[in-house]
């Protein structure tokens, strides 16, 4: 059986997920977010828009609040003030089950890797396809095989996360984030502990969709190595609660 096209991967639930947001809206926008937990400082609001097909990285110190942005983008946490909009929808306002459905349009790589420890790397990659899509088992297997091949995980696919090395765990977490070929990918500290070359390779895979077009990628990090910095479209530094544009 031939690999699934991105349309086939997403067809089943997409119609429902698309009922939120606007087709012309930016994939991700942070609007007037207070990152310093001090709402009395309106001059230091964080605003950032991730345009379609671009890769944007927000960098900042541990206490800058940059680590909260991924959670805001997924609706996992609520900012004290301001809002995050994904495809024009105020993600923090969606009811729980609608939010679960809507999140299937977003690939997510949490800090660390967020892999389920009692599953093999292969089963971790298959998880969103099995429980968050309408596909048959054979279709799921095809898509998983394709992802394991793309992320060079075939040899270690049967290992549990604890038995795999850090780079393979990161590859598996990225492959899982792309399982449903999402329109937007949010990565939290995705390059920590990786060599520049491995980070480049992963960012290249994440930013390309199955049909060859570019997808919107938003990543957070404490810093970026120059080789990765050259691959991104925008780098913003979070300083004193605001976004300061830096040269990629």
């Amino acid at each position: 059986m031939s690999p699934l096209t991105s349309h086939e991967v997403r067809a089943g639930w997409m119609a429902q997920a698309l009922k939120w947001g606007r087709p012309d809206a930016a994939p991700l926008a942070f609007i007037a977010i207070d990152l310093r937990d001090r709402p009395d400082h309106p001059d230091h609001h964080f605003d950032l828009t991730v345009a379609p097909g671009t890769t944007v990285v927000a960098i900042g110190d541990e206490d800058s609040g940059v680590g909260d942005l991924g959670g805001f983008a997924l609706g996992l946490r609520q900012p004290l003030s301001g809002r995050a909009e994904v495809f024009g929808a105020r993600i923090g306002q969606l009811p729980y089950y609608d939010l679960l459905l809507f999140r299937r349009r977003i690939g997510y790589h949490p800090v660390g890797d967020g892999l389920l420890q009692n599953l093999s790397l292969r089963d971790n990659v298959a998880l969103p396809l099995r429980f968050a899509s309408d596909h048959r088992q054979a279709e799921v297997d095809d898509r998983v095989n394709q992802l394991l091949e793309d992320f060079r995980l075939r040899a270690v696919a049967t290992l549990r996360p604890a038995a795999a090395n850090e780079e393979d765990r990161r590859r598996a977490a990225m492959a899982r984030a792309l399982a449903l070929d999402p329109d937007l990918v949010v990565l939290e500290a995705p390059f920590d502990g990786l060599t520049g070359r491995a980070a480049q390779d992963l960012l290249d895979k994440v930013s390309r969709r199955d049909d060859g077009s570019r997808r919107a990628v938003f990543a957070t990090a404490q810093d970026l190595v120059p080789s990765v910095r050259r691959m991104v479209d925008r780098v913003v530094k979070v300083a004193d609660g605001s976004a300061v544009e830096e040269k990629p």
């Binding site: 997924l74 996992l76 089950y97 679960l100 459905l101 809507f102 999140r103 299937r104 997510y108 949490p110 660390g112 967020g114 892999l115 389920l116 420890q117 998880l127 969103p128 396809l129 099995r130 429980f131 968050a132 899509s133 309408d134 596909h135 048959r136 088992q137 279709e139 799921v140 899982r176």
Partner: protein
């Protein structure tokens, strides 16, 4: 005096809020079944089979052992005492009412709680602490579907199946207890079969469903309620197991009321 009333009120309100949370949790778990995807059904079935293997198959030895000892003790003592009064025919009532209807389901559920309830609570709490529940939600996966539903179905099937095993073993070893006091197999069988009724069958099934649900729901609820970190895991396990035991005893008493009515 006001402080005492306030303390009682606070404690009552806390318990009511836990009950409300549990009711919402149970409803969410049942509703999750309707949202299972095609591939999800297949995986849930695999997880369910695994759960039944851990919960039921691996507990058969313990259930058999405890059922045979309990039934042997109860029946051998009862036959001896009833024999003195010339009322050995009442042995059927004792074995059906005391062992099959009440002690069997109760002990089976307690065995499953001690083995699997603790495991479920610890696993759920670990999932929460490791950020796996958040990862599931971030992927758009309902944690009820992935974590709670297979365990609940597994516990229901396992508790019901183990109750049947318990009853079978209790009847068999009860005969050995009765035989020690000189009762013949034919007479024992007649007495037991005369006393058993269809009500005992549906009561066993109903208790299997209720006790099985409790065995999975309470530990899951308390396990997933962990927030602070790994140090909360043992407390969650204790809370989950104690709540399950209390719930099983209360529902057992309610069964008596319902069956009497």
């Amino acid at each position: 005096m006001t402080a005492v009333v306030a303390a009682i009120g606070r404690s009552g309100a806390r318990r009511l809020s836990v009950l409300g949370g549990l009711a919402r949790f149970a409803l969410g778990a049942f509703r999750a079944a309707a949202r299972l995807t095609r591939a999800g059904r297949w995986v849930t079935l695999r997880v369910l089979i695994n759960q039944i293997r851990f919960t039921a198959l691996q507990a058969i030895g313990l259930v058999t052992f405890l059922a045979s000892i309990l039934s042997f003790l109860v029946i051998s003592q009862t036959v001896r005492q009833l024999g003195r009064l010339g009322a050995t025919d009442l042995i059927g009532t004792v074995i059906v009412v005391a062992v099959i209807r009440e002690l069997g389901p109760l002990l089976t559920a307690l065995i499953v709680v001690s083995r699997s309830g603790t495991a479920i609570a610890a696993e759920m709490a670990t999932n929460r602490v490791m950020g796996e529940v958040t990862a599931l939600e971030a992927m758009g996966i309902d944690p009820y579907i992935y974590l709670v539903l297979p365990r609940m179905l597994g516990a229901i099937v396992s508790v019901a199946a183990l109750m049947i095993v318990f009853d079978g073993v209790a009847l068999a070893s009860g005969y050995f207890g009765a035989a020690l006091s000189g009762m013949h197999f034919q007479r024992y069988t007649n007495i037991v079969l005369t006393t058993l009724s269809a009500k005992d069958v549906w009561l066993t099934v109903a208790k299997g469903v209720v006790f099985g649900s409790a065995v999975a729901l309470f530990p899951s609820y308390h396990g997933l309620a962990v927030k602070a970190g790994p140090t909360e895991i043992p407390q969650a396990v204790t809370r989950g197991v104690v709540a399950t035991i209390v719930a099983i005893f209360i529902s057992s008493a309610l069964f008596v009321v319902v069956a009497a009515g």
